[in-house]
Amino acid sequence: MAERPEDLNLPNAVITRIIKEALPDGVNVSKEARRAISQAASVFVLYATSCANSFAMKAKRKTLNAGDVMSAMEEMEFERFLPPLREALEAYKKGQKGKKEASEQKRKDKEKKNGTEENDKSREEEEDEEQMEDEQDGENEGEEEDVEN
């Protein structure tokens, strides 16, 4: 649950970046405008949620599903979002499905890579060791100081 009112705000940095990407290059967006858009986005989430929830309730379901959100968009007159949302959902589902396979494949690739790049790796490790030695020297100095104190 949201404990502080700020918890219901969306991160300004991301909102700002999305705005900048939507507008032509070099457009100056005032701070007040950015804050207003961010607040509008939070209200949009709540509005969409309540719309979607009424669809779920009509169907006597307790869980909001993708269809409810899509219906909500239509009801809110944001039909124009439906095609990109459908596309995004498909890509997302594919991604979720492929995630397991991909991570397994990655692990295999990594193992292979480790085999071929062992020489490079050992060189890196040498460098790491040098750094660690430096750090250790520092620590030792610190310890000596402690002893003196």
Binding site: M1, I18, V45, A48, T49, T63, Y92
Partner: protein
């Protein structure tokens, strides 16, 4: 614009945090459960909404020649565009006009 939106979708940091969107959704009293797809779609829709609100306000706004987007452009959009009408409560135009005049007065005072 389409290209820009595509680019926006590609960048990792362009996405709103799903956890935060979930928190906002759950703050709605009647909502009990939200499945992953619905959460993803709402997050995505919010990103589209931000883009659409910004672009509509900019294109219909007064700052287009100067290349600026100001609060009054957003208030104008909320008032004049049907799909953004639900925002009129949080983007009030009247209060803005008063504030704006006040700030103008202050600026003039500052100049003098």
């Amino acid at each position: 614009m389409e290209k820009k939106v595509e680019r926006a979708a590609e960048g990792k940091n362009m996405s709103l945090p799903v956890s935060r969107v979930k928190l906002i959704m759950k703050s709605s009293p009647d909502v009990s459960c939200i499945n992953q797809d619905a959460l993803f779609l709402t997050t995505k829709a919010t990103e589209l909404f931000v883009q659409h609100l910004a672009l509509t306000s900019y294109n219909n706004g007064s700052g287009k020649q100067k290349g600026t987007l100001a609060y009054r452009d957003l208030a104008k959009t909320a008032e004049e565009t049907e799909m953004f009408q639900f925002l009129t409560d949080i983007l009030p135009k009247k209060i803005l006009a008063r504030d704006y005049l006040k700030s103008l007065e202050k600026m003039e005072e500052g100049d003098n």
